[in-house]
């Protein structure tokens, strides 16, 4: 039985703050009805990971958003790219809609502000603070039934 909620973080942990999405998934408080998923980047087949969910929270680093993080409601949307190396969350929702013939689950994007995207495995100090703030938001969002 699939978990009702999917938290899906992506990014590259070898690229400094680009690993914020993966770090969030690694540290976020767990709940039995929430599945955590991490990958390097979004791909069309991830649409199948959204099937059967009531809600999806996408988590990624942001290069230009507000600190410490922003939360956006997502809708299926167009996507323009020159390469196979990127798919937007809105684009993924549109893939879901067309492949399944159903409207996608409620989806939000948690965009955590990052600052250093060079090679290296450590989050920058500012990104670490932003991640902690985002984790706090998640604890409150997920409610009192969280596992330790």
């Amino acid at each position: 039985m699939k978990a009702r909620v999917l938290v899906f973080g992506w990014g590259n942990p070898s690229r400094g703050d680009d690993g914020l999405g993966a770090a969030f998934v690694g540290e976020a408080a767990r709940r039995s009805d929430v599945e955590m998923l991490v990958d390097y980047q979004l791909q069309p087949e991830h649409a199948l990971d959204l099937v059967g969910r009531d809600e999806v929270l996408f988590v990624d680093a942001s290069t230009s958003g507000k600190e410490p993080f922003e939360v956006f409601e997502l809708t299926p949307g167009p996507h323009v790219t020159v390469s196979t190396h990127h798919l937007s969350p809105g684009g993924l929702l549109a893939v879901y809609q067309r492949v399944t013939g159903k409207p996608p689950p409620r989806a939000r994007l948690l965009a955590i502000r990052g600052w250093q995207f060079g090679l290296g495995e450590q989050l920058s100090e500012r990104a670490r603070q932003n991640l902690d703030a985002a984790l706090g938001w998640w604890r409150s969002e997920a409610g009192a039934a969280l596992a330790p």
Partner: protein
């Protein structure tokens, strides 16, 4: 470059550090003199690897690319097989081949269904908002669904061998970590009829779309060059192993059957001040004329045959569509689908081999100081070369990734297209579209190491000789 040249900068994916920026240099007459595709990723990664223990490398290099981490894992493991002095046992080799075929199938499906088929279906001049996967699924929902399911199948194969979706330890120096579970094998075999049927459909669609526009495709970014690939001892294409074979632009064999360690004598790497990416060339031909193409278009024409029957028939059909060597970048798409079919057949063949579920997984040998691994990754020949100290730490790393091997070929294709479609001294949507189509045919790893949100515009700028922007276009990301 002379001081009188003008510059047009096309910035398709300025993700974090200016990845994938295209600069067109114009001469006084307004003709495109040179095209420069700027990609910054990989040389930094070589330095990043130095100082790490060698056994950690096959996992770390997976972060080079979110699309083909398995290719880097396998290539590093092959290089480090030599370092640990091991010849991997038959089960390990077959499991690696299974991983590789799964990766190629997945990556090729992504490229065709996500990027290429919208270009081919809707045309280069169509509304850009339709010329992508979303446009594709609106018009051809069944096609898009097959693309997603083909990718999912490849992903499931990889998860079954790696044990998890990412950061897995499939291949290790000397072998692999685990067998394929019998129930997973049986489940995959049940799916294979559909996978093969969809692959055949994809070949038919790529063929139809290519032949429908064959005259236009012939002249689109077509620049003759040498071709490079791995080939098995019997002349068939070997995506996992084999010897290096190169042909010149007319199809004459330049060298054949050379082992991985000979790459450093066959291929030289030129550094240019404007790019972090190296410019490899065949040493015997020199830097001016020794650049070459790698990837599906090269592979199908360098080898003598494919080892699987349906794909070999499709390859012959592909070859029969042109006289002589086909250098058209848009022919990559059809060639890629022939390889997709080959991988589907190869996966089926491998799944019937009991060595996947039993047998030795790792071997050892006498420790060596260095090793070279070469593999045919989805986008072309991939080379990993490591030197390791007595303390087991990497002391030198040299990577020539597929995109680097295609570096000059991409620049030449872009220059050709830009010359054909530039209108005056302005960046137009039309020019941008055509440059994008040329770049997409090669599918370079533009920025695969970083994926943060933001900074995803398509920006096109015209910069005069004094460095001032006189015209620009920006295409945002939804």
């Amino acid at each position: 470059m002379t001081e009188t040249l003008r510059r047009i900068a096309i910035d398709p994916l300025s993700r974090v550090e200016g990845h994938g920026k295209v600069t067109l240099l114009l001469d006084d007459a307004g003709h495109v003199h040179e095209a420069r595709l700027h990609i910054v990723e990989f040389r930094g990664f070589e330095a990043f690897i130095v100082g790490r223990p060698y056994w950690e490398v096959p996992v770390v290099v997976q972060r080079l690319c979110g699309i083909c981490p398995v290719s880097h894992n396998l290539c590093a493991a092959k290089a480090l097989d030599a370092v640990v002095g091991a010849v991997p046992p038959p089960s390990a080799v077959k499991l690696r081949r299974l991983m590789h075929a799964g990766q190629l199938l997945q990556s090729h499906a992504l490229h065709f269904f996500h990027l290429a088929s919208p270009d081919l279906l809707f045309g280069f001049d169509s509304d850009v908002s339709k010329r992508n996967l979303i446009g594709l699924v609106e018009k051809h929902p069944e096609l898009a669904k097959k693309g997603v399911l083909l990718r999912k199948f490849g992903q499931q194969v990889l998860e079954a061998v790696y044990g998890k979706r990412i950061h897995g330890t499939g291949a290790i120096p000397g072998g692999v970590n685990r067998h394929l579970a019998i129930d997973a094998r049986d489940a995959f075999l049940k799916q294979l009829p559909d996978i093969k049927a969809w692959s055949l459909d994809a070949v038919a669609l790529a063929r139809e779309l290519t032949l429908k526009n064959v005259e236009r495709h012939k002249g689109f970014g077509t620049v003759p060059s040498a071709l490079l690939s791995l080939v098995a001892a019997d002349g068939s294409l070997d995506l996992y192993d084999g010897g290096l074979r190169a042909k010149d632009a007319d199809g004459r064999v330049l060298f054949d059957g050379l082992d991985a360690s000979s790459y450093r004598h066959l291929i030289k790497e030129e550094v240019r001040p404007w790019s972090y990416m190296k410019f490899p060339y065949l040493a015997a031909m020199g830097p001016e004329s020794g650049w070459y193409k790698v990837g599906p278009l090269a592979r199908l024409q360098v080898c003598d045959r494919l080892s699987t029957p349906l794909a070999e028939a499709a390859r012959r059909d592909f070859l029969a569509s042109t006289t002589g060597i086909n250098h058209a970048p848009l022919a990559f798409h059809w060639a890629r689908m022939v390889e997709l079919l080959h991988c589907a057949e190869d996966i089926e063949h491998l799944l019937h081999d009991e060595a996947l579920v039993m047998g030795e997984l790792v071997s050892t040998g006498e420790r060596q100081r260095e090793g070279v691994g070469i593999i045919e990754a989805p986008r072309g020949t991939l080379i990993h070369h490591y030197e390791v100290g007595e303390d087991d730490l990497i002391t030198r790393c040299n990577l020539i990734v597929s995109t680097t091997n295609n570096n000059q070929a991409m620049n030449e294709a872009i220059r050709s297209v830009a010359r054909q479609y530039i209108e005056g001294h302005r960046i137009t949507e039309g020019l941008l579209n055509h440059v994008e189509v040329a770049v997409r045919a090669f599918d370079p790893c533009l920025s695969c190491a970083t994926h943060a949100m933001g900074k995803m515009p398509l920006e096109v700028s015209l910069v005069d000789a004094r460095g001032e922007v006189v015209s620009s276009l920006r295409r945002g990301d939804a």
